[in-house]
């Protein structure tokens, strides 16, 4: 045991003996692990926000589908849905997309019936929109920043439909910390949104809330509703119901459910990392080989030399992973993911105007250490082993 401890201590000495090689290996690991940890941290943060979105949203989302394409449903569907047993409310909603300004800034227009607005909200700086002569909107923080909008600002007409066009007024701006998804939002009343998209009497979907325990029954009932129940759609409409449980399953899948590209990228990065570490371990390889020769000549066994190399790799990977966690944390927390958050969240500016959601958890941290260890071991232990198995006289040459 004593022998192992003393040999292990030389693993640390070995790191310090070759500062350039250790530094280069550490930098290579940082370059790989920091984006990995940031990506995983951001994913976890988004998962938390998504969980809240599910929690505070409806139990069921009902939309129309024809020929496999999503289509709007008539607003008259609302009362028909509300009479189903177990349904508490069926709120029509419009969610649409447009672009504004010279820079074609992407906007998500969301319209909700004014009567469904709460009396008072604190998530908005300003007030909620009202129905009236002017179109009134609450906008997201990124949108306000990009279009230089303040509360009270007027938006020149940005749409044209058979009923003409309207000037719009900004009556509020969402607080930046309420959600990632508010940043490009233009929130107005249902009528205003319908006016913009010239879709009077139509809703993108219905947000249905059910009495507890009725979700499945209501879902079945909606799917069994006759197609004629959807007047004004031209018939042949299917009702597509997305339940909270369906999405919760996606969330519960967690990291295992992350689809290929992110993982594929990092598999490639890890392979490249191994090659990089192999190259960096080549720095001073002749000197290292000679050093191993001297150790062997003075009575060190091959397994002791490899154990020393293993400890060196473990210390390097644990140290680099710890530093990576710290860098990822500082980058996300104090620099709000400047430059890097946009890599993992589509549509985000280089300097995000919203707090980037993130949570660094033990599993990715453990994976970072493991991956760091695999990279350093694969990259450097081979060369150590090669040097350690030759007779000392040969290694010292």
């Amino acid at each position: 045991m004593r022998r192992c401890v003393e040999v292990a201590k030389t693993g640390l000495t070995a790191i310090l003996l070759h500062p350039v090689r250790s530094g280069a290996t550490c930098c290579a690991l940082l370059a790989i692990l920091v984006p990995y940890l940031v990506g995983m941290g951001v994913a976890k943060g988004i998962e938390h926000d998504a969980a809240r979105s599910l929690e505070a949203g409806g139990d069921l989302y009902v939309s129309g589908s024809r020929l496999g394409q999503r289509i709007p449903l008539p607003v008259e569907m609302g009362p028909r849905l509300e009479v189903l047993e177990g349904v508490q409310t069926a709120m029509p909603r419009i969610v649409g997309r447009l672009s504004l300004g010279r820079d074609k800034v992407e906007v998500i227009v969301v319209g909700i019936p004014a009567e469904d607005f709460p009396a008072k909200v604190t998530c908005v700086e300003g007030r909620l929109p009202r129905n009236g002569a002017l179109n009134e909107f609450v906008v997201g923080t990124e949108l306000a920043r990009r279009l230089n909008l303040q509360v009270g600002a007027m938006l020149p007409p940005f749409y044209r439909n058979p009923r003409g066009e309207h000037v719009s007024r900004i009556v509020g701006i969402f607080a930046s910390d309420v959600s990632l998804w508010q940043s490009h939002l233009m929130f107005g009343t249902f009528d205003t949104a319908a006016e913009i998209f010239a879709a009077e009497g139509m809703a993108t979907d219905f947000v249905v809330t059910c009495q507890p325990g009725y979700e499945v029954a209501v879902s079945r009932a909606i799917q069994n509703m006759n197609v004629e129940a959807a007047p004004g759609t031209g018939g042949n409409v299917r009702f597509r119901v997305t339940s909270r449980e369906q999405l919760a399953v996606l969330l519960a899948g967690g990291q295992l459910h992350r689809e290929g590209i992110f993982n594929l990228h990092f598999v490639l990065v890890f392979v490249i990392g191994i090659l990089v570490v192999q190259v960096t371990s080549g720095l001073g390889l002749a000197e290292r080989r000679r050093e191993i020769g001297i150790l062997k000549a003075t009575g060190w066994q091959t397994d002791e030399i490899l154990f020393r190399g293993l400890i060196e790799c473990i210390l390097l990977s644990v140290g680099s992973a710890a530093l990576s966690i710290l860098v990822a944390f500082v980058w996300l927390r104090w620099f709000n993911g400047y430059l890097i958050a946009g890599v993992f969240i589509s549509g985000l500016a280089r300097a995000p105007s919203i707090p980037v959601p993130f949570q660094l958890t033990p599993v990715p941290a453990f994976l970072a250490v493991t991956l760091g260890l695999v990279i350093t071991l694969t990259g450097s232990l081979w060369s150590s082993w090669r040097a350690a198995i030759v007779p000392p006289g040969e290694a010292m040459r």
């Binding site: 045991m1 003393e6 201590k9 030389t10």
Partner: protein, 221 residues
């Protein structure tokens, strides 16, 4: 103490073909002797010392040390046997980035000797070699003679009964070579068996046995 019988060492080179570094070398070194190996460059002195120091295996023949035939030992056993032999290399072979005391005591690490005891050992040896004030220096801060004395201290660290030295004075000036010769005499005086390859005439006076190697063949005197 150590004995070779009909020892052969052949190196194979793609261009030059087979090179017979040692041929039929039989040598017996008894405990307490001071053996000198002389001979021209390339005669096989370094090869013979490497074989005696368990650093390489013979092509044929046997080497018996501590009652074991090195030719039949595993790599692990050879490594363990090397711990009982002190080796002084021609080019010092110190690790440049390690302090003097670390260089001296590195062979003690696999024995599980704690750092404080190792440091104490290094200090004791350096005091004996008049280098105590250089204990924390790096090898490159030392002169050639000092580096070779550090290498001797490393060879002595594990208190071996046999010391092998491969042309230890060849890279030193006359004064340093003289000091080293005195040091070897002192070490031999403490009962350590010495086998040294050298061209130095000064060491001839100390030797109890002198062998000459010529083209891989050993002869007495």
């Amino acid at each position: 103490m150590i004995q070779t019988k009909n020892l052969y060492k052949t190196f194979r080179d793609r261009k030059k073909g087979e090179l017979h570094a040692l041929q039929d070398v039989s040598l017996t070194v008894s405990a307490g002797r001071f053996v000198l190996l002389t001979g021209p460059s390339g005669s096989g002195k370094t090869t013979l010392l490497s074989l005696l120091g368990a650093m390489t295996r013979p092509t044929r023949g046997s080497i018996t040390f501590q009652g074991r035939n090195l030719a039949e030992c595993s790599d692990v056993e050879l490594a363990r046997l090397r711990r009982d032999v002190g080796f002084v290399f021609q080019n010092f072979s110190l690790v440049p980035r390690l302090a003097v005391w670390e260089n001296i005591t590195y062979p003690l690490i696999p024995r599980g000797i704690p750092v404080a005891a190792r440091f104490e050992t290094a200090r004791r040896l350096l005091r004996r070699l008049n280098l105590e004030d250089r204990i924390e220096s790096r090898p490159e801060q030392l002169s050639g003679g000092e580096q070779q004395r550090v290498a001797v201290a490393r060879a002595l660290a594990a208190e071996p009964q046999l010391i092998l030295a491969d042309e230890p004075t060849s890279n030193l000036d006359l004064r340093a070579a003289g000091e080293l010769t005195e040091l070897f005499e002192e070490i031999h005086g403490s009962g350590v068996t010495m086998v040294i390859s050298t061209h130095s005439a000064a060491m001839l006076d100390l030797a109890t046995d002198v062998y000459t190697l010529t083209e891989g063949k050993l002869s007495c005197g």
